[in-house]
């Protein structure tokens, strides 16, 4: 009994998410002691505001990866949605609210386009979204002829970029709401649990009577909707809409999801793990640029990327390393 208990504690400790929380705590502890003005309320609010768009994309990416898929098009779609929003508010003189609503709708439609190709034609998600990665960005560039920037939005809308409620920036509330939504969807609904089952074994899930294709489509549509919401946040924060919005965000989102313990092959992962992954990356890149020695050398940006890459590799390799150690320890006794 007691040995069973200790084993379960040990396996709990080896759980990816728990290790990641430990990393997060270490990061925070280290930066509180060594990084300049890290723990100030203004800086904490910076961290939330700066990571909101990538965070949203990561939360939406998580169910996609859970089903064994991937969506490389979310960053480009963010750019396309930002441009479309600009077209509606500026060229067509729509009011902000209907324009925002239609933008989100179009984001969902773009997600549905991915979903249709992936499910109806059974094409590999990596390739489909590699194509739409190029297509969506290309459309954004074509619409703006590459050069046009939409500026001077409605002041009320731009205010959202700086808006705070109960001390937390709006971005934090949106991120929290999205985390709650995806958390409930993935972990508490039968519908969402099937994502995991599909990722684990699509054939088995089909035999269990679950409409695999229809369920696989849903995460891509949600990713499209989320990318549109992120586009609105991005536009409000930067006070402009241009075709290059969200460049490279797809890889940052995937990094957060994988760091958060979701298997890139699908079938396992948690939303709170993803949330921890987002936090670990955001805090690392904010904090490392405040460490005096790094500040002095002027290498904050590069170091943040390098350390994120190293963390990602470590997180992936940790289970394999533990297994190696265990088998090495076992061998002498047998």
């Amino acid at each position: 009994m007691s040995s069973q208990n200790s084993r379960s504690i040990k396996s709990l400790l080896l759980r990816h998410e728990v290790l990641l929380v430990l990393v997060l705590v270490l990061e925070i502890f280290y930066f509180l002691n060594n990084a300049r003005n890290f723990g100030t309320p203004d800086n904490l609010s910076n961290i939330v505001r700066h990571s909101a768009e990538i965070g949203l994309l990561a939360l939406a990416m998580m169910p996609v990866i859970l089903t064994g898929g991937i969506d490389l098009s979310v960053g480009s779609l963010l750019g396309l949605c930002a441009v479309l929003f600009g077209v509606m508010t500026h060229d067509w003189h729509w009011a902000t609210l209907p324009a925002a609503f239609v933008t989100i709708l179009l984001g969902g439609l773009a997600g549905a386009f991915n979903a249709t190709l992936i499910t109806a034609l059974r094409l590999p998600p990596l390739i489909v979204t590699l194509g739409t990665y190029s297509l969506f960005r290309g459309l954004a560039e074509a619409i703006t002829q590459g050069t046009k920037t939409y500026r001077s939005f409605d002041p009320g809308f731009l205010g959202l970029g700086e808006f705070r409620f109960l001390g937390l920036p709006l971005q934090g509330w949106v991120l929290g709401f999205a985390a709650l939504f995806f958390g409930i969807l993935v972990h508490l609904t039968v519908f969402g649990r099937s994502f995991r089952a599909i990722g684990y074994s699509p054939e088995g899930t089909r035999y269990a009577g679950i409409p695999v294709l229809r369920r696989t489509a849903m995460p891509y549509i949600l990713a499209g909707l989320t990318a549109a919401v992120a586009a609105l946040l991005f536009t409000a924060r930067l006070q402009q809409a241009r075709a290059d919005a969200g460049t490279g965000y797809e890889l940052a989102a995937i990094t957060a999801v994988v760091l958060g313990g979701t298997s890139i092959f699908g079938g396992s992962g948690t939303v709170y793990g993803t949330l921890t992954g987002i936090a670990a990356i955001a805090i690392l890149s904010n904090g490392i640029s405040r460490v005096p020695a790094v500040l002095k050398a002027g290498i904050g940006g590069e170091l943040a990327s390098l350390l994120t890459g190293a963390l990602l590799l470590l997180a992936l390799a940790a289970p394999a390393l533990v297994r190696l150690l265990q088998s090495a320890r076992k061998q002498p006794t047998t």
Binding site: Q145, T147, T149, R242, A245, I288, V294, K296, G301
Partner: protein, 338 residues
């Protein structure tokens, strides 16, 4: 950063991770008890890992050393247009005294800079400006108008004011490139009715891509008389394409580029006109201006300022003038090492 410092810099963060070590080496946050508080100047280029801005950084570091200020340097390492804003917002909470920034995005960054000003942080811009209400001074190497006119007039002169020319830029979305293109097109429409801009191509800030684009342009437009390259990797790229096509001298090249990357082509006569200001001095003057603004020695309305090794520098309104851009030729290009 010199390459010799590379390993030392890689080691620095490793030491920083030892608890306490970072703190003891922290001159920047040392309480201003014994000596007067050192000024902190934060320097933000448009992008990192770029020869133009690493040259700027060299000059800026030299000025910081002369003035005995703490010098912070960071910048975007990718093409995320939000990155500069994030760095400025982080510097606000870090507590710097002055921010010197080369704006990637004229309007986009103004909100963040105004936030900094509201917190009592002085802002100066260099290389490319933001909106005038978001900074106190702009260290001006050349105005958009000045650059646009110099390039267009130069191209017109090379072509005898008539014929076709093409343009190669960095990316389609780069804000300051677009400002220049606008000025070039305006000048073209106003002064050179017999010239025609047949095509504009982006080269993604890569020399090899510029070379391929130029190769295509040369054969797609057989009457092309000139290629105008408005980002620094595009100039040697276009030159190599013209050379390989055997059209050296027949198709002229004018561009904004670094002497070190174009020396051979200028000497061989492939590239006729290379324009640039002294980039190292630009960084140097930016830090000097930032220092003077923070100390209160430079105020609105001043007509000149003292800037260390550059001596007296003229000021026009709120623009600190670096002086006229150089036109590099066969005869003088060897004098410039950047």
């Amino acid at each position: 950063m010199k390459r010799s410092q590379f390993l030392a810099l890689l080691a620095a963060p490793a030491f920083a991770f030892l608890p306490g070590c970072g703190k003891s080496g922290d001159a920047a946050s040392a309480p201003g008890g014994s000596v007067e508080k050192r000024l902190t100047i934060a320097f933000l280029p448009k992008s990192k890992g770029n020869r133009y801005f690493s040259t700027c950084e060299k000059g800026a570091r030299a000025a910081a050393e002369e003035l005995k200020v703490d010098f912070l340097f960071d910048g975007p390492t990718n093409t995320d247009p939000a990155k500069q804003n994030e760095i400025v917002e982080n510097w606000i909470t870090l507590g710097v005294d002055v921010i010197a920034v080369a704006c990637e995005n004229r309007e986009g960054i103004s909100g963040a800079l105004k936030k900094a000003q509201a917190k009592g942080i002085k802002v100066v811009t260099f290389d490319s400006d933001t909106t005038p209400d978001a900074r106190s001074f702009f260290v001006n190497e050349a105005t958009d108008e000045g650059i646009g006119h110099a390039l267009m007039d130069g191209a017109a002169q090379l072509c005898g004011e008539e014929g076709e020319f093409a343009l190669i830029c960095a990316t389609l979305t780069a804000a300051n490139q677009n400002q220049w293109r606008k000025q070039i097109e305006a000048r073209l429409a106003a002064k050179y009715p017999k010239m025609k801009l047949v095509d504009s191509k982006p080269c993604d800030d890569q020399k090899d891509k510029a070379q391929q684009e130029a190769t295509n342009l040369l054969s797609a437009y057989p009457n092309l008389k000139c290629i105008m390259a408005i980002c620094s990797p595009a100039v040697p790229g276009a030159a190599e394409a013209v050379k390989q096509a055997g059209k050296s001298g027949a198709v002229k090249i004018i561009g904004l580029g670094l002497p070190s990357e174009n020396r051979a082509y200028v000497k061989e006569g492939v590239t006729q006109s290379l324009i640039l200001w002294n980039v190292e001095d630009l960084g140097y003057l930016a830090v000097q201006t930032a220092y003077a603004v923070a100390n209160g020695t430079l105020k609105a309305g001043d007509k000149t300022m003292k800037a260390g090794r550059l001596n007296e520098v003229e000021i026009d309104g709120t623009s600190v003038l670096l002086g006229k851009p150089f036109v590099f030729t066969k005869d003088n290009i060897d004098q410039f090492q950047f």
